[in-house]
């Protein structure tokens, strides 16, 4: 086993647009190590979300090398990728995507249920994780009864509840105010990050750059620079 959790190289991905195709990724190369929080930054439309989608297998790329935990996603069948994602990936979305008709604990238990854990056990475990992120008294609240910061903590609980090795966050602070954004990243760093896990955060929120262990800068479908210390990355 290599010490690279994620190793992608020369990934090309295009979308049809009219008669031609727009290239969202034009040979992106990136790796992430176990135990690190890798941040992908860059201007809007540069391909950050697309790269994230290719890494977790919700999009398939046309060219390039794709090794996630030593699995070659490109050689796996559709259902194998889905299964792989179910076990290994935790998601945190900008829009939270919590189901409005389910309580916090029900929402947070979904990944366990998808992995075949019985509902009562799954909800007990989800309750514990929610308590760890400070929502022990909100287990049975519906999303409409929670603030943005609380919603993102429910989403973090949902991403962590099945102890995945890869946690993927797309603009996790974009819908939050500064304080809630800081708290979210604090939580991600303290509870999500483990020696055998890898956290990837896509953002263009410069207030949270300092949480990164490394920063990958993207532009126009390519990774144009890797910074081993976030202080080295000075965004204009």
């Amino acid at each position: 086993m290599s010490n690279l959790a994620i190793n992608v190289a020369d990934v090309v991905k295009s979308f049809p647009s009219g008669d031609t195709r727009t290239f969202a990724l034009k040979g992106a190369t990136l790796n992430a190590r176990f135990g690190e929080l890798m941040m992908i930054v860059g201007p809007s439309g540069c391909g950050k979300t697309t790269l994230l989608s290719v890494i977790c297998g919700t999009l398939q790329c046309e060219e390039g090398m794709l090794s996630i935990f030593d699995h070659d996603l490109r050689k796996m069948k559709d259902w194998e990728i889905t299964k792989f994602r179910c076990v290994n990936v935790g998601f945190i979305f900008q829009q939270f995507n919590l189901i409005p008709t389910l309580t916090a604990v029900e929402n947070a238990s979904i990944p366990l249920i998808l992995n075949g854990v019985p509902t009562n056990k799954a909800e007990r475990r989800a309750g514990e994780v929610l308590a760890e992120v400070g929502l022990g008294d909100k287990l049975h609240s519906y999303p409409s009864q929670l603030s943005g910061g609380q919603l993102q903590r429910v989403a973090i609980s949902r991403a962590l509840v099945h102890e995945p090795r890869l946690i993927i966050c797309d603009e996790p602070t974009a819908s939050l105010d500064a304080a809630a954004g800081q708290k979210t990243l604090d939580l991600l760093k303290s509870s999500a990050l483990q020696p055998d896990r890898c956290v990837i955060v896509v953002t263009h929120d410069n207030r949270i750059y300092h949480f990164a262990d490394r920063i990958a800068e993207m532009e126009d479908g390519r990774v144009i620079g890797i910074y081993d210390d976030p202080k080295d990355y000075h965004h204009a």
């Binding site: 979300t49 994230l52 919700t58 179910c86 998601f91 979305f93 995507n97 029900e106």
Partner: protein
């Protein structure tokens, strides 16, 4: 995940209520209309069911049970002469005018039973004895007569007298039989006296009722009697269905009811299909999130199907329940007639399964086309 699917459905109160109401309304409409239709069709066969004889012999031109072409009385003897006939008796049926003591008129369905055997007698006597028909001027009236006369202020009891075509009739019994198609009361008397009540005519035999000897089936007997020139013999069951089909083919009844049933189906598909589409549409984002989180397509399909069919099941239960309640509350009055054999709820169930399947299918197509990557947007 199925429990989660149900929570998503039940807690979306507005859409859930809309779905259940739409489907309940649709099943109620279909169930109620088809049952009333069946009730009316049953009315058309009341005489056949009330008399209940195994084989009916009529003039060869008769098409259905409510059509009477009088025959000569000698036909009874001709039927008796057919090999395999155990018994054959005459039956008179005719619309006659009854005049009440207050001078008002009422059309009645006069039924003259074979004087010797009273074959075709009503089974359910509410008062009096059918055998008393053999007393002078005796008649037995049905519950409809009691009801109709009561509305005119006359209480029919044993011993009440009225006139049929100016000849006295005395009530010796009250029976309960299936109501006639046109709602005219059944008045039972003997064949011989029926001919006295009826206006004189050369041919006065309405039906010959016959039964087979052991070992000969009703069908076989009917086939043999039908070989007699000018006569047609038909089994009870056959006459029942022939009559119903005659009304289906020759009247506007099925079309008017069919239109309402079709309307019910369309309303069901429109309301349920559209609301369910909206429900799935509003949840697409979350279904996509589930897909991203590793839910397989068959899991999502099962969720959508379960949601569609559980509202279908609940709506069906409410609709059929309401229809039965409606039926029960009108059954006593028979206005309108209501008859719900098991085929009616079964048919409605099939239609509802199709509606829900169709709704679920639309939802599933959307889910299948779903790119899990949309959740990042």
């Amino acid at each position: 995940m199925l429990a989660i699917a149900l929570k998503m459905l039940f807690r979306d109160r507005a859409k859930y209520a809309m779905l259940v109401c739409g489907l309940a309304f649709c099943s109620l409409l279909m169930c109620q209309q088809i049952s009333v239709f069946c009730g009316i069709m049953m009315w058309t066969t009341s005489t056949v069911r009330n008399i209940g004889a195994p084989v009916w012999v009529v003039d060869a031109k008769v098409e259905q049970a409510n059509e009477v072409i009088p025959m000569r009385q000698i036909e009874v003897e001709r039927v008796r002469s057919v090999h395999g006939v155990a018994w054959a008796v005459p039956l008179y049926i005719g619309i006659e005018q009854a005049r009440l003591n207050d001078g008002s008129f009422q059309n009645v369905q006069l039924t003259g039973l074979d004087t010797g055997t009273l074959t075709g007698r009503p089974m359910d006597m509410v008062a009096g004895r059918i055998e008393d028909l053999r007393l002078p001027n005796a008649v037995v009236v049905d519950q409809v007569a009691v009801e109709k006369f009561r509305r005119k202020g006359i209480a029919i009891k044993l011993g009440t007298t009225f006139e049929i075509n100016d000849k006295e009739a005395r009530v010796v019994g009250i029976c309960h039989v299936a109501r006639s198609f046109l709602g005219q009361p059944y008045i039972y008397t003997t064949f011989d006296r029926a001919l006295e009540y009826a206006k004189p005519s050369r041919k006065q035999l309405s039906y010959v009722l016959a039964g087979p000897v052991p070992g000969v089936s009703n069908e076989e007997l009917a086939a043999r009697i039908s070989k007699l020139p000018g006569l047609r013999a038909i089994t009870k069951d056959n006459l029942f269905w022939t009559t119903i089909w005659w009304y289906i083919k020759n009247t506007g009844i099925p079309i008017s009811f069919g239109t309402v049933v079709l309307l019910g189906i369309i309303v069901g598909i429109a309301i349920a299909g559209q609301t369910f589409y909206l429900f799935v549409h509003d949840n697409l984002r979350y279904l996509a999130a589930l897909k991203a989180m590793g839910a397989r397509m068959h899991t999502l399909a099962a969720m959508v199907l379960l949601q569609a069919f559980s509202v279908g099941f609940i709506g069906y239960g409410i609709g059929v329940g309401l229809a039965s309640w409606f039926g029960n509350s009108v059954l006593a009055k028979e206005q309108p007639p209501f008859f719900m054999p098991w085929q009616v709820p079964a048919f409605v169930a099939i239609v509802l399964i199709l509606i829900c399947g169709f709704s679920a299918l639309i939802g599933l197509i959307k889910v299948a086309r779903l790119e899990p990557a949309v959740v990042f947007r």
